[in-house]
Subunit: 297 residues, 2 copies
């Protein structure tokens, strides 16, 4: 019954002799505990978060459900401990998915010198330092024939600020393969035809990000280093003009630390930057078409 997830866009992948996540057909996602403490740190976070009574209910929905840990046959064929989580794409037929790592700094202050040096290098080489976030992967559903636009990991690893701007547009376009030089405006660019239903509206991604922002301006419980947003929506629903079923989730908690009474200014900065990118797309749409997909800021 277990298999590798169909819609994984980033992170370790299950394969021949390779440890990666598995899913079953009941909507559960089995994430193998990573070595060097990361697995146990992530379990510790989920246990703490599940039992923390200071997390408001309207915030809890942005986190995957957690069902404990289980020792089971891993993708490598041998027994290994796994976290049992909610499969965030199980209810979707052809989900468009984007994974965005938040924060200009992906290392916690108490990390080792070697780990800090490694992260700082990646943060500087990616858009984490200039933008406060970086893309880790995405897939955009096109149609039943072409299936998905899914740029390869080597391309994703090298994306600069202009690429990120373009990919945030492609994510909500019916022609995500269309390329356009940013700035020149030449050529048929991504049409952003789903922007107002996916990013905009009272239940869209921007509204969800703003709800999280309000919490991050106040919460002094956790600092989330190297944590990602997962954006998921179903094109079929978006195109009908109906509720796009766009969802924002937070994932990857191997580097969460105690906040010690201080807000997570590193995460909040990245969240505000991403929010601005998305509201800029909605403003442009509005300027062009007169439609109003944007929520009140």
């Amino acid at each position: 019954m277990l298999k590798a997830p169909d819609h994984q866009v980033a992170g370790h992948e299950a394969g021949l002799g390779k440890l990666g996540p598995l899913i079953d057909d009941s909507g559960r996602f089995y994430k193998p505990l990573q070595g060097d403490n990361r697995g146990s740190e992530e379990v510790a976070f989920y246990e703490s978060f599940s039992s923390n009574t200071h997390i408001p209910e309207h915030i809890r929905k942005y986190f995957p459900m957690y069902y404990g840990t289980k020792i089971m046959k891993a993708s490598t064929g041998v027994e290994h401990p796994h976290m049992v989580l909610q499969d965030l794409t199980s209810a979707r037929v052809n989900p468009s998915v984007m994974d965005i790592k938040i924060g200009s700094r992906t290392w916690a202050p108490d990390a080792s010198e070697a780990y800090i040096a490694k992260c700082l290098k990646k943060d500087r080489e990616s858009t984490s330092i200039p933008l406060g976030f970086r893309l880790s992967g995405l897939q955009v559903y096109i149609d039943d024939e072409s299936r998905f636009y899914k740029p390869d990991r080597n391309y994703i690893r090298k994306t600069g600020p202009d690429d990120v701007r373009l990919l945030l547009r492609k994510f909500v376009s019916s022609n995500p393969s269309a390329d356009m030089e940013i700035g020149t405006g030449s050529g048929p660019g991504p049409d952003c035809s789903l922007a107002s239903s996916v990013y905009g509206g009272p239940n869209g991604i921007l509204a969800q990000l703003l709800e999280l922002k309000a919490w991050f301006e106040d919460q002094t419980i956790y600092h989330f280093y190297a944590c990602s947003f997962l954006f998921v929506y179903e094109k079929r629903l978006g195109l009908k003009g109906a509720w796009s079923n766009a969802e924002v989730k937070l994932i990857d908690f191997a580097h969460v630390t105690d906040a010690n009474g201080v807000i997570d200014h590193n995460f909040l900065g990245g969240l505000c930057s991403l929010t601005k990118f998305i509201s800029d797309i909605l403003s442009e749409i509005e300027d062009c078409t007169g439609t109003n997909g944007q929520v009140e800021l």
Copy 2:
């Protein structure tokens, strides 16, 4: 007519053979251009900012007035170019002053490797990394006899998160020399008697920080690295329960860069963190005394 400023709490000080700022009796502050491009970078910022028509008027008031540059006899006795700025404490008799450097990162992405390494070390050793800001200096007026509480620079350099929390309270206390172990609540701590009039209220420091925050959530003109807030107030006015005349100004623009269409997530994160520290102080006051110095958040 020129002399060293009376109320400087951080930065280079004019002295025998030492280059430092000077003031005159007409309310002007003469800042010598620093070497290694920093001086010319700061002049470039002031020139750009003065002529930029996209800066809203209600934001312009948070920046010192700029009157150009002037070659004049420096504190060292020899001719040197200076920026001519507004003296931010000239209208004050006994100003309480605090200088807070904003941002967990004080280096711009395009800085040299050597400069980045130097800044990163300071950011990690200070509270910049954990809190998103660090204290650079302060003086708190006590009375005409005791004059000022002004911790020395060696102490300021070593302040940790708990010290910062304490000093933010001392800054608005009539007994700033009183010490208290944070957390134990033992001993007579700083009384925070001026908190509601200096930090709180419709014209207080918190309200000003929130006005700046709204701009920083949107502005994609400049990134302000290693820039400071200067908080200034006059105790005489605060104690009478009148308008405290508390002012927030931004200073030190030697490391401002073009924003390239991205918000200054590094500055914004630090600003939000500082805002939370100050609103926490106001909440505690309110809990204790029932007075309401806090503005609507």
